[in-house]
Amino acid sequence: MARPHIEPFCDRDTHFKDMTLPGFARGMGYKMLSFDVDTGACSMTVQLDGGYRQEPGFPWSELEMIVIEGELKVGDRTCRKGHYFFVPAGYCMPEISTDQGCLVLMMYNTGEPSHEPANEHHPLAQVGLYHDVDSYMDIPWAPGNVAKPSVASGCLIKLLNYNPISHAMTFLYCMTPAFYQDNISYHDCAEESYHLWGTSWMMQFGEIPTGGYFWRPAYINHGAFASEYGCIALGRTDSKLFNHFHYNPWTNPTENAHRSAARLYKRDPLLYKWAISYDHNHPHGPEDFEDTMQRRGDEQGHDTKHKSDGKRHDHWHGHHHHHDDSPHKHD
């Protein structure tokens, strides 16, 4: 079921709640923006009170953060507004503190918020994926044409994180004053946005102000778009972003998904026919031999790079299992 469609929502309309989950220090308030009912993954506006101090440790989930206001100290470093962090699950962060208090957007991508006190990384942590950057000062704005067809000029981006496998992205985007784009869009991926500053408008949902937020499942119409005075926001997708533009405001998600499939059929007819006609539409996706082929370093035929969303095992490790309630087989 994942996360429901939350659009629009403004965190300024609600109060902070005390974070009571084990592991977190006192002085942490949060406003829940969206919550995955299956995994506990969520996005939150977090307020850390002046004097807050979090001992070193790691999250069990992948975590992304960006400082919205104030100063956050990470170890000896002072990180200011716009500082972005990508923290892999199990990656041990140094002490986190703030002298005067700060506001942070926290996104736990694969599980509920967690903090396990530790002084070293978890053995399963993919340490090399960690990165952080001052996104306001150290990355230039680029045209928003990362996807074709693209947004109109006046919508600019800064890419913060990119998944080379799924093409999922995290990025800052801004709309210049008087920006507008006259089309309706939908995507084959979920999309999320938090307005760090400013107001934008969409034809379906009206205005999204500072602190405005949405989590939108795939295939839902949004747009036309406009921003009178400009805005800056953090955006994310959970897989490849493709802009399916059209001008029919009355289509529903199923019709939009059918149109996506029809466009795939027109563009890649052989692949489409192979996937659909020969029952190769395995629920976890077709097998990629680069994920499954036996390698010299494998141990007893198991892929040493186990991939899991944490809720079910994958089938890419050299042999098959069968769940009692599974409708698919591997004949």
Binding site: S150, N163, D182, E192, Q204, P249, W250
Partner: protein
């Protein structure tokens, strides 16, 4: 977002499970409020749709970037009979 392989299995305490249940319940309330607010926008949204049609038939439809194409009035879509103007879809294609 979501590498999907970046999760480490761990035990959830009863306290954490209770927190999760509470958040799910509160999210249901938020969702209902938003769905109602968006239903309440239907009347003004009809006006926005008409203004959109006016613009794309005169100034043009953004086909790709700044490339604009004027849509012929006869090519504008017709609202399917009996279809409610719905913009919130709880779980996208899975909500129908």
């Amino acid at each position: 977002m979501s590498f999907k392989n970046l999760f480490i299995e761990h035990e959830l305490t009863p306290e954490v499970k209770q927190w999760i249940e509470q958040e799910i319940a509160e999210q249901e309330e938020r969702f209902s409020t938003i769905a109602q607010q968006m239903d309440d926008l239907s009347e003004i949204r009809e006006k926005w749709y008409q203004e959109f049609f006016d613009r794309i038939t005169t100034a043009g439809f953004n086909e790709d970037g700044d490339m604009k194409v004027k849509i012929k009035p006869e090519d504008l879509p017709v609202k399917p009979e009996g279809r409610k103007d719905q913009v919130i879809w709880k779980y996208g294609v899975d909500s129908e």
